[in-house]
Structures are given as structure tokens and as C-alpha cells.
């Protein structure tokens, strides 16, 4: 069943950030040979608006059902691409990224052949995972709009007031018979030398 997947692979040149060290055309041709891959293309900047549009267009035109973006670290643009494929009607969890910049072109800048081979391996791994990805639904949990502040010293007092001024109900719990904490025992306070209470 997973071999019936239609994976689209988008290889980003990131200007010269990736293209200077990785032969992106060769990676693209290699990607087309991988099981499950229905479409592969090289982009100048996949994260740009035109790059994202290309993903959306390809999803529609080639009936893609899993997306691999080979570009930078997912920390950078995973949210971007998740949003893009969602807009094209795919579940946001059907995206996999291969990091061919931080973990490939940047660290193997002076060895184009090896960097290209590694990029192919990373894309291969990403495709292997992508064809096994399943749509996921995120659970939504309601939040009780009230806060508990434990401790009525200066920190707890400030927290309680800020919550309340934001319009939330606050329970301020203090073990002593009065709030004030240690600060109430101080005479003056630094650096302004004003009274503590």
C-alpha cells in the first residue's frame, strides 16, 4: 500500500547556500528513482512565496499525498511548509524534511561529491519515512480560565494582580495569616532605598 504513495520531493538550492556544495539536479534525478516518488523538482528558494506556490500547484497537478522538502533545518521552516501543504488540502503531518543545508552543504562545503552523495542519502531517508507517515489530528483541550498563585510574597502578589488586571479569576494561597512574605519584614529596599510595604 505504501508503494502506492505519491511523494513530491522539493529540493531547495537556498540560493548558493546549498547549491554551492550540492549538485541539486543530481539529487533531484536520484529522488525520481526512489520508490513512491511521483514528482521531484529543484527550487531556488522553496520557502519563498513562489516556492510554496509550486508545492501547492504540484500537489494538485500530480495528486501528491506526501511531501518531502530537502532544504534547511526543520526548526527554520517546518511550520512554513506544514502550513503550505495544509492550504493545498493535505494533513500537516504528511510533511517530512531532509536537512541538506546545516547537516550537509554547510559542513561539507569543500567536498561537492561527498556532499551530493550525503544529500541523496538524507533524501532517501526522508522519503522512506514520508511514505509511512499518517495523517494526525491534534487534540484540543479546554482551559479553565482561572489561575492559582501559590505564595503571597512580592512575586505572588505581583502575579495575582497581573492575572486579575488581565481579567482572570485568581486564587492567591498563602500559608501565613497575612500576605507580604519576607519583603514585608524588610525596612528599606535596594537600590532605590524606599520602604518595603
Amino acid at each position: 500500500m505504501i508503494l502506492e504513495r505519491r511523494v513530491g520531493v522539493f529540493i531547495c538550492e537556498c540560493g548558493l547556500n546549498i547549491a554551492a556544495a550540492v549538485d541539486c539536479q543530481s539529487v533531484m534525478e536520484y529522488a525520481r528513482t526512489l520508490p513512491g516518488v511521483a514528482f521531484a523538482v529543484v527550487n531556488r528558494y522553496t520557502c519563498s512565496e513562489p516556492g510554496q506556490e509550486e508545492i501547492k500547484k504540484a500537489i494538485a497537478e500530480h495528486k501528491l499525498d506526501r511531501i518531502v522538502v530537502a532544504s534547511c533545518t526543520p526548526r527554520m521552516h517546518e511550520p512554513t511548509f506544514r502550513k503550505a501543504i495544509e492550504e493545498a488540502g493535505l494533513n500537516r503531518y504528511l510533511l517530512e524534511m531532509a536537512n541538506i543545508r546545516e547537516h550537509c552543504s554547510w559542513v561539507h562545503l569543500h567536498d561537492r561529491d561527498a556532499a551530493t552523495e550525503k544529500a541523496k542519502d538524507l533524501v532517501k531517508m526522508a522519503v522512506a519515512r514520508a511514505i509511512r507517515l499518517e495523517p494526525q489530528t491534534e487534540t484540543r483541550v479546554p482551559v479553565t480560565r482561572a489561575a492559582l498563585v501559590i505564595g503571597g510574597g512580592i512575586a505572588g502578589i505581583q502575579a495575582a494582580l497581573d492575572f486579575a488586571d488581565n481579567g482572570y479569576k485568581v486564587y492567591l494561597v498563602e500559608k501565613a495569616p497575612s500576605i507580604g512574605g519576607i519583603m514585608a519584614q524588610l525596612d528599606k529596599t535596594f537600590p532605590t532605598m524606599d520602604c518595603s510595604i
Binding site: R75, E78, Y93, E102, H103, D121, K124, M125, A128, R132, L133, Q136, E138, T139, R140, V141, P142, V143, T144, R145, A146, A147, L148, V149, I150, G151, G152, G153, I154, A155, G156, Q158, A159, A160, L161, F163, N166, Y168, K169, V170, Y171, L172, V173, E174, K175, P177, S178, I179, G180, G181, I182, M183, A184, Q185, L186, D187, T189, F190, P191, M193
Partner: protein
């Protein structure tokens, strides 16, 4: 303080403690124990008639024992709520021979000796912990004679002595003969920055507190001679250095080095024995009063509360943040935040800043009214589960509910699960699926990478946070031993597992389980006749690029020692071992 008492949205529960916390982010159910104060909080007008007639005298906690209070009392004049309270242990009102003087004196009849403790249930979405700290008790530093010498006092006692509302109405007095001291010394770092006694850390506030106290003395009584004995003066905050300089302009003397001992002479004065750091000679200086600048410790109740909320602490005993730099006010457990000294010693400004920060962070959850849980949580496959309970035990978030006696399958609370995968890796029966990081997906990746030229490759399992910043799963806790064995079976010469350092783990302490698991696995490899050196575990933080390079170079060195024959042998050993296991299971 009065604003808190007045605010319509703040329900103030003093003389109360958190008894129990259930639930999870957005949906906490908390039981509060409201201790009886034996005085009607709403009716009491704080007129004080009761205190006047009360015959019982006790040390006043607010004045740190430098004054007395009655059994029915107000904690201090500006107390909020302003209601009085009865110290029922001391009160004679409930004795067989009832005293009841206060009750008779109270015109509004607010006093009720039969009042009982009660429990209140509340529901909240977020919790801010602001339990503060306590000051170090210097009695253990016997060389300074605190409590043995009347004129050796702590910085907290000094605060009360110089306060106009304090026991001496702001007159600074020697505690033995009530004369005004002429020579005063402060000793810094009492209980702080010591590897031997007290705490190893810097308590953050004591230097500036002493600078302030020294200035107060000089402003009131310029003729008093003031010296400060210190290790370093840490005046790092805004306006601190100028206050420090101002103190020097008053003639306050700063003497580097802490006294080794205090001796009391026949006049009741104190002699400080201290090494002169310039020529190495031992000197003795005489003072009328010595103030010990005491450090800060976690509050006594913090440990109990920490356990109720399943939070972690750092080695100093204060609460551990979700991330020491990027999430300093968040607990690792969602929906819980820190403010003030519960997290670490800090001054008023930092406490207030952190409190506002905590509220702003909590507001992210509260304002939306609902939270979305990323779909990377774990799921139990009941048909495979044998109810061993390991998953619930290893979960750093207590997100898996399991009670062996109830004979029900473990249940994952999705809102509490952070997706670290430790349960999935530890489950001996493969009964846990990590959504979006399934065994099948990860094994497919291992297969893909090792399909061609495995000999040239080092397989790295790196966590999403410190080690790789964007990798195959969230936490090294997810690295199932099955993954490692699979990589070796597919011809990997070297396998590296890498995650955040202990204490930096983004899943509280899930990487402790990784360490244990890898150690066990190394032993297992040796037993099978596989060189355990080929499996490596390294902690690498996100800021340690050079370390990552060194580790990878080391991996390459190890890899160069592995021959194709050795890899082939490993593959054969593992396949045989697997075949045996399959046979055993079939039987």
C-alpha cells in the same frame, strides 16, 4: 498589598495550604486546606481590644523573636487581610478552664473557638508557584557564635531593629546593654558560596542588601564606624554600582576576606580574627555589633509542593525550569510557571519581573481558552499491553495513568504527554505507538541509510533539541534498543546516540533513562561478542558546535578500526540471536 485585598477578581486564601493537585494543563483540580484562624475574617475590624486582654505572651515571628505578641494577634500592622488570628496552640480559650477574655472583649463577637479547618476545591487552568525562600540559619557556623553572643545578629534581625515600626522603634541597639553600637561589622556570604557548609551558590541579594543596610546606618548615625568583610562585592544590577559607590563615599570600609572567628571579650564586645590579605598577617578588630549577611535557601514547604506537582529541582534545591535560558519561567510541565525565589534566589525587582513574565506566559493558555496538543503523543495498543506499568513509571510527566490494582490498561493523558517517547522505548512488549515517530518509520530510515555502503557511515540518533536541532525524534529517551540493534544488523560500523546534557533534557529527566538503557545495551553487546565501543553515547548541547565536531571525529576514528569482517560477524551474530528469540517466542 492592599490592592490584592480589594481586587474583585482575587480570592485571597491566607493561612491556607495546597493539599492536593490533580489534573493537567488547563484543567487542574486543587484542594486547598484553609486552616481555622478562630476569628471571623470578614467581621474583624482589627480594633485590637482582644489583644489587650489576652494573658498569653509568645515570641513574635514577624519580629524574629525580638518582640512578643499575644496568643490572639495581628501578624503586623499592615497585614492583609487585616483580621486577627488565634495561635490555638498557645491559646487558653479551649482549655477546660476556659479563659475566653478575648471573646468577652470583642464587641462584634468575631471570635469562635470551635472554628474548624476546612477544605476548598478549586478548578484552575494554570498555576504560578511563588513560594519564596527562607534565610540561612547561621547557628551551624559555630565560629561566629550566633545565639551564643548577644551582639551577633542576622541581616533579617537588623531589618527589624532599624525599622521604625520594629521592636526598638528604629533605634539600633546592642542586644546586651541596649547602648547604641559605635562600631559595626557585616560579614558576607553567610551560608552562601561555600563548598563545605551552607550552600555552594551565590544568594544573589546579600551584597546589595548589606550595601543598603550600611548606608541606612550611616544616614541615621554618621558617627558609627561600619566595616564590611566580603569575598567579592557583586553589584551587577541596574543602579547597584552607583549605590555601592555612594556607600563608599559615606566612609564605609570594605575589607576583603572573611573572618575566621569571632570572640567575645569581657566588655561584651566582639573581636574578629581575620587574615590581612595584603601581608598575610592575622589581625584582630573589635566591634560592638556584628551582622551576619545570611544567604537564601529553598523554602521548607517547597519540597512537599514540588512532589505534589511532580516537578524537578536543580542541584541547589530550587525548582527546575523548562529551559534555563529560553523558558526561565515555565515549569517543564505545561501550565505551571515560576515567580520569585522558588526558582532561584533573586531580588525584588527580578521577582516582580519574573511574576509578570509568568503571568504573560500563562496568559498564552488562558486567553485562547483551549490548547492544541501536537499530535506526537504516545498511544497504548491494549492488545499487546501486559500491564507491567513500566511506561507509567518512566514517564517524566506523569502523563500515563496506571494503577496495577485496578487491572485496567494504562491511559495516556494527551494534554500532559510531551511526546518524548521514553515510554515507547522502554515498553518491553512494543505496546506503545509514538504517533508521528513510529518504530516502523524510524526503522525504515535506518534501512534507507544503510542500504548502500554501510561501512562508510556512522548512524547517529540525535535528539531534536540540543544535539541535532531537527532530527528523527524528539528526545534521546525515544531511542529504543531495537533501533540500535537494527542499525548494527544492517551493517552500521558505529552508532552514536546523542542528546542534551543531564539537567538540560527538554523532557525533565528522560535522558537518564537513555543512559541506563545504553549502558545495559553495551553489556548485552559485549555478551554477544560485539565490541561495545561501537555504540557511543554523548551529550552535546546546542551551543557546542566544536564538541559536536570532536565527537564526530572520534566516531570516524572508531569507524576506521571496524573491518568489513567485523561488521559481517556482527550482522551474523544479531541475525542468529534474533532467530533464537523468534524460536523461543514460538515455543
Amino acid at each position: 498589598m492592599t490592592d490584592v485585598g480589594r481586587h474583585p477578581l482575587i480570592e485571597l486564601m491566607t493561612y491556607s495550604e495546597v493539599k492536593n493537585v490533580r489534573g493537567y494543563v488547563g484543567n487542574f483540580e486543587v484542594t486547598i486546606l484553609r486552616k481555622a484562624r478562630f476569628v471571623d475574617e470578614k467581621e474583624c475590624t482589627a480594633c485590637g481590644d482582644c489583644t489587650e486582654v489576652c494573658p498569653v505572651v509568645r515570641p513574635d515571628e514577624f519580629e524574629i523573636g525580638l518582640a512578643t505578641r499575644k496568643a490572639i494577634y495581628s501578624p503586623f500592622p499592615q497585614a492583609i487581610p487585616p483580621a486577627y488570628v488565634i495561635d490555638i496552640e498557645a491559646c487558653l480559650g479551649n482549655m477546660p478552664l476556659a479563659c475566653e477574655k478575648c471573646s468577652q472583649a470583642c464587641e462584634k463577637k468575631c471570635i469562635d473557638y470551635d472554628m474548624q479547618d476546612r477544605e476548598v476545591e478549586i478548578k484552575v487552568g494554570v498555576i504560578v508557584i511563588a513560594t519564596g525562600m527562607k534565610v540561612f540559619d547561621p547557628r551551624s557556623l559555630t565560629e561566629y557564635g550566633y545565639t551564643r553572643y548577644p551582639n551577633v545578629i542576622t541581616s533579617m534581625e537588623f531589618e527589624r531593629l532599624i525599622n521604625a515600626g520594629g521592636p526598638t522603634a528604629g533605634e539600633l541597639l546592642r542586644l546586651d546593654n541596649h547602648d547604641r553600637p559605635k562600631r559595626i561589622a557585616f560579614i558576607q556570604c553567610i551560608g552562601s558560596r561555600s563548598q563545605r557548609r551552607g550552600m555552594p551558590y551565590c544568594s544573589n541579594v546579600c551584597c546589595m542588601n548589606t550595601v543598603k543596610d550600611a548606608i541606612l546606618i550611616k544616614e541615621h548615625w554618621p558617627e558609627i564606624d561600619v566595616s564590611v568583610y566580603y569575598i567579592d562585592i557583586r553589584a551587577f544590577g541596574k543602579g547597584f554600582e552607583s549605590l555601592y559607590m555612594r556607600s563608599k563615599s559615606y566612609g564605609i570600609r570594605y575589607m576583603r576576606g572573611l573572618p575566621g572567628e569571632i570572640r567575645m571579650n569581657q566588655a561584651g564586645n566582639l573581636e574578629l580574627v581575620v587574615e590581612n590579605l595584603q601581608d598575610g598577617s592575622v589581625e584582630s578588630h573589635e566591634y560592638d555589633m556584628v551582622i551576619l549577611s545570611v544567604g537564601l535557601e529553598p523554602d521548607e514547604g517547597l519540597e512537599d509542593l514540588r512532589q505534589k506537582l511532580s516537578l524537578s529541582k536543580t542541584s541547589d534545591g530550587f525548582l527546575m525550569e523548562a529551559h534555563p535560558k529560553l523558558q526561565p519561567v515555565d515549569a517543564p510541565t505545561r501550565g505551571i510557571y515560576f515567580a520569585g525565589c522558588a526558582e532561584a534566589p533573586k531580588d525584588i525587582k527580578d521577582s516582580v519581573t519574573q511574576a509578570s513574565g509568568a503571568v504573560a506566559r500563562a496568559g498564552i493558555l488562558l486567553s485562547k481558552g483551549e490548547i492544541t496538543v501536537e499530535a506526537i503523543t504516545s498511544r497504548i495498543i491494549e492488545s499487546r499491553c501486559r500491564m507491567c506499568g513500566i511506561c507509567a513509571r518512566v514517564c517524566p510527566y506523569n502523563a500515563i495513568i496506571f494503577d496495577k490494582s485496578k487491572k485496567q490498561y494504562p491511559r495516556v493523558i494527551e494534554a500532559a504527554c510531551a511526546g518524548c517517547g521514553t515510554c515507547g522505548a522502554e515498553c518491553p512488549f512494543d505496546a506503545i505507538i509514538m504517533r508521528h515517530f513510529t518504530d516502523e518509520q524510524i526503522i525504515a530510515q535506518i534501512d534507507a541509510i544503510l542500504e548502500t555502503n554501510p561501512m562508510d557511515k556512522v548512524v547517529v540518533f540525535a535528539c531534536n533539541w540540543c544535539s541535532y536541532a531537527g532530527a528523527d525524534f524528539m528526545c534521546s529517551g525515544r531511542v529504543d534498543k531495537k533501533f540500535v540493534l537494527h542499525a548494527f544488523k544492517k551493517g552500521a560500523p558505529v552508532v552514536l546516540v546523542s542528546g542534551c546534557h543531564f539537567g538540560d533534557c527538554h523532557y525533565i529527566d528522560a535522558n537518564h533513562w537513555t543512559a541506563k538503557r545504553i549502558e545495559k545495551l553495551k553489556k548485552q553487546l559485549e555478551k554477544l561478542g560485539i565490541r561495545s565501543e561501537r555504540l557511543q553515547l554523548w551529550w552535546i548541547s546546542a551551543s557546542e558546535g566544536a564538541r559536536f565536531r570532536n565527537v564526530m571525529q572520534m566516531m570516524e576514528e572508531i569507524r576506521s578500526t571496524v573491518t568489513p569482517e567485523e561488521v559481517e560477524q556482527t550482522m551474523r551474530i544479531l541475525e542468529e540471536a534474533e532467530a533464537k528469540q523468534v524460536e523461543a517466542t514460538a515455543e
